[in-house]
Amino acid sequence: MNRTSLAVCVLMLATGCAAKKDYSAYFAHEPRSILVVPASNETTSIDADAVYMTTVSRPLAERGFYVFPVFLTDQLLKDLGLPDAGLVRQLPPQRFYEQFGADAVLFVTIKDWSNKYIVVQASTTVTVSFTLQDTRTGTVLWESTQTVSRNSGDGGGSIIGMLIAAAVTYAVNEMTEVDYSPLAAQANVLAFGLPGQGLPAGPYHPQHGADRSKYGP
C-alpha cells in the first residue's frame, strides 16, 4: 500500500536529522574531480559490485563533480596490476593523483545487498558506505553510510496499492530476478545529495559555493 511512499519519506526525514558532520577537511581540500575506484563487495551477492558500479557516476556528476569514467578506470587499474578492490585500497592515495590527476578518490563498500521474503512480502535492502579521500594528502574528506529498503508485493490485490508502488518505487520483477540498481541509485542520491549530510555542490553545480552554510559552521 502507500506504506512504501511513507517509508521513503520517513527514511529521508530520519537521515536528514542525523548528527552534524564536520566539513572543515572537505573545504580545505575541496575536490573538482573524483575518481571512483571499483567497489568492495562485503556481501555474498557476487555481482553486487559490478551492478553497483553502473549506478554511481550519474548522481555524483549531477552533484557537480567531474567523475572519471568508471569502466576506463577499472581497466586502467587492471593494467596497473590491480585486478580487485582490495588491492586498489592498499595504494597510497597519492598514486591516484599521479596516475589519474584526480583530486579525490571515492572508496565504496557494499555492506548489504539482499532480498528477504517474509510471507508474501519481499524486502530488498541495499547498504553502501562511502569514504572520500584527498589524493594529495590522504585526508578523509567525507564519509557516509546509506541504507535504502523497499518492500514489494505488499500491494496485494489492491490496484491502488500496486499503482502507488509502481509510481513511487521502480518496477520490481517480482518473483524472478531482483534489480538492485534503482535502490543502489537511490542510496547514492541520498548519500551525496542530503543537505548538511552529503557532498557540498561541486564546481559544475549551480549551487557551488552558495550552499556552504548548509555544511557545518
Partner: protein, 152 residues
Amino acid sequence: MRRKDRFAVPILGWLFALPGILAFGGCAPKPLYGWGDYEGSLRACYVDHDESEAQADLERTIAADQQSGQRVPPGAYAEYALLLYKSGQSQRAIEYFRLEATTFPESKVLMDKLVAKIQDRERSAGEASDTVEPAPDPMEDSTGPVGEPSDE
C-alpha cells in the same frame, strides 16, 4: 461509469505518490547532463560484458546530446574512446580522448597520457598506422571532430 473509474484510480495513485516524488525532486533538480543510455552502456560493460552494445549506447547518447544541445556527461567521450580503441579504431579513440579533455579539463592529465600511450603503440606497431584512414564517420559532419557542448 466504468470509464470514470479507470481515470479515478491513476489520479488517486499519483496523489498518494506526490510526497515521495516531491521529496526526490528536491534531491535532484533538473539534470546537468543528458545521460541518455550512458548507464545502459555501463551495464553492458559491467554486467553483460557486451562492449559493442556499450559502444552503440554511447554513440547514441553523444549524438542525442549534440542534437538536443544538452551537455554530454563526464566520462562519456572517454568511455567511448576506450571502446573505439579496443575495437581497433585508434585514430578515433584519440579524437574522443581529446574531446573529453577539452570538455572537462579535470581529465586532461589522464587523457593526455592515454593519447600518448596510443600514439606510442601506433608508432612501434610500424608504418601501417598512418596509411589506414578510418572510414568516414556518421557522427562527424562538416566541422570535423564532433562539436563540443556549450562551454561553461
